[in-house]
Symmetry: C2
Subunit: 348 residues, 2 copies
Amino acid sequence: MSEPTAVFLAACRRQVVPYTPIWIMRQAGRYLPEYRQIRARVSFEALTRTPELAAEVTLQPLRRFPLDAAILFSDIMTPLAGMGVDLTFEPGPVIGQPIRTDAAIDALRPLVPHRDVPFVLETVRRVRAEAPRHVPLIGFAGGPFTLLCYLVSGRPSKEFETARAFLYASPGSAERLLDRLADAMAAYLGAQAQAGAQALMLFESWGGLLAPPEFERFALRGAMRTLAALRNHGVPLIYYLNQGTALLDRLANLPADVIGVDWRAPLGAVRRVLGAQQAVQGNLDPAALFAPADELARQAGRVLQEAGGAPGHIFNLGHGIWPQTDPDAVARLVDIVHERSSRGDNRL
Amino acid sequence: MSEPTAVFLAACRRQVVPYTPIWIMRQAGRYLPEYRQIRARVSFEALTRTPELAAEVTLQPLRRFPLDAAILFSDIMTPLAGMGVDLTFEPGPVIGQPIRTDAAIDALRPLVPHRDVPFVLETVRRVRAEAPRHVPLIGFAGGPFTLLCYLVSGRPSKEFETARAFLYASPGSAERLLDRLADAMAAYLGAQAQAGAQALMLFESWGGLLAPPEFERFALRGAMRTLAALRNHGVPLIYYLNQGTALLDRLANLPADVIGVDWRAPLGAVRRVLGAQQAVQGNLDPAALFAPADELARQAGRVLQEAGGAPGHIFNLGHGIWPQTDPDAVARLVDIVHERSSRGDNRL
């Protein structure tokens, strides 16, 4: 059996673990009063760029809950400012000059992490120095296609119409932009690993807006290029795909150790489609945290059961935790997952 | 072979048709300059409540394109004002007092269509009198769960967190609200059929926000109740489910003649899951209308091919047409679908 220090990492590698590890997307964030206290005096952007504060915020949920992993506090758009993108948060990311031409794409600078995002690397080092030894730190970046959605649309959007129209109208330019972003995110994530991140995660939040052929041509092209470049870092790679139920069968060849899915795809079906080569992360509905305690326990039990009790499951929500969530519900969830899974369901 | 007057209705009933019929969700709308011209002098709300104008706008796309069906110009929220909901459009629907308690639910009046929405019924009668005889008119309503999302959240939202939390926190109240809405929509759609609508469609735009068990408990409960009440009207019933790839296997017992799907689920897979008892409607990506003409033709051909060339396919987009779409692309699409499918692919 693995040492307790490595439960999350062991699960990423589909090794036998004493219980199902759990962490929560956006676990460092607005649902915590101690986070809101810091944000009352510092802007979101300043917070992501100040290692002392970003590290503090990363560590906050670990003090409240016995979570099995930490995740860097940052934003998927943060590194793009380092590439010359005119980026502000209002509060969603807004691009001063949306990127819609080859000239604008070619004007993007390659990302040089120690020069362009030193504050992120310093945050990683600080968290590693201060986090409990048995809680690994996950570094992350946005999937190239998801970043393209923001860069082309210029601001958050429900359907990202401008970006999706761009794929059909200018597929060659879209590929050119995706390749640049993929290379930049590979450099970014590689630098996070060198600074101490023990797992790397790519967030493909908008990949599920695409039909399967376009997902393969655009989103998978970018993700493949980023992840392939990271294999030699020796840390688990996690690919999170939101709204991707119709796309899971395309992920078989993606060089990711873990596939994160949203709450809509039952994990049993997900594992059948993915096969045995990849661990699965997810996938409780974030809304289930608003249920009474007994119903929350039932819902969490359902996820554990659908995951099949086997190694290779990391418990998480299917999407980021909502700001209006009661932290006590999170405490209950973490306990439920640890307790139920340690009863032997997912030992071999 | 069916008469040309009935191609759309025959396809709804999975009968052999000389070509694949096509209509387009939101075909009466902002992408048409003649629509924008009317909207320049009348508010959206006034437009939906003025039969002369609503009928005119319903007919506009039929003058430009040889579409196989018309769809009533209205909004899924329109009938709720008749139930006592304090509704405005800014431009999305905003509820003055969101419905979150049993008292608020019980205060909703049952809908009496001839009293509460006479302008909708008059619009139906006008369109039937003026539309070409071979172009049937589709009446529609919102799915009870989709309406609940707006009523509980109070305004449009990307994730409808408040409504989804309500399902988990107050499932009994949610069911109570769904049953009221289901009964109201059954009355509403039944009155549309009596006024002359030749097919009835339920738009479940947000059903895909739910995991399968919650979809079944809430969204399907509501849709089932509405559709079951409409079977005796003798017109085809269409259920459109957005983002529903993970949910299609739950629709087998739904009393709908046609299942409409979004652009993410390949139609071949959709038909395998649904079986042979229901026709399928969809599902070109609305973004494909921004492709050059040859690529648009290739994409439309892919949809026809995935539909299997068999009877029981109605071509449509997978979601409403975007306002920024070029009407000429729509003209091309309608011609492509008619021409390719009439070559014999979907005759038996």
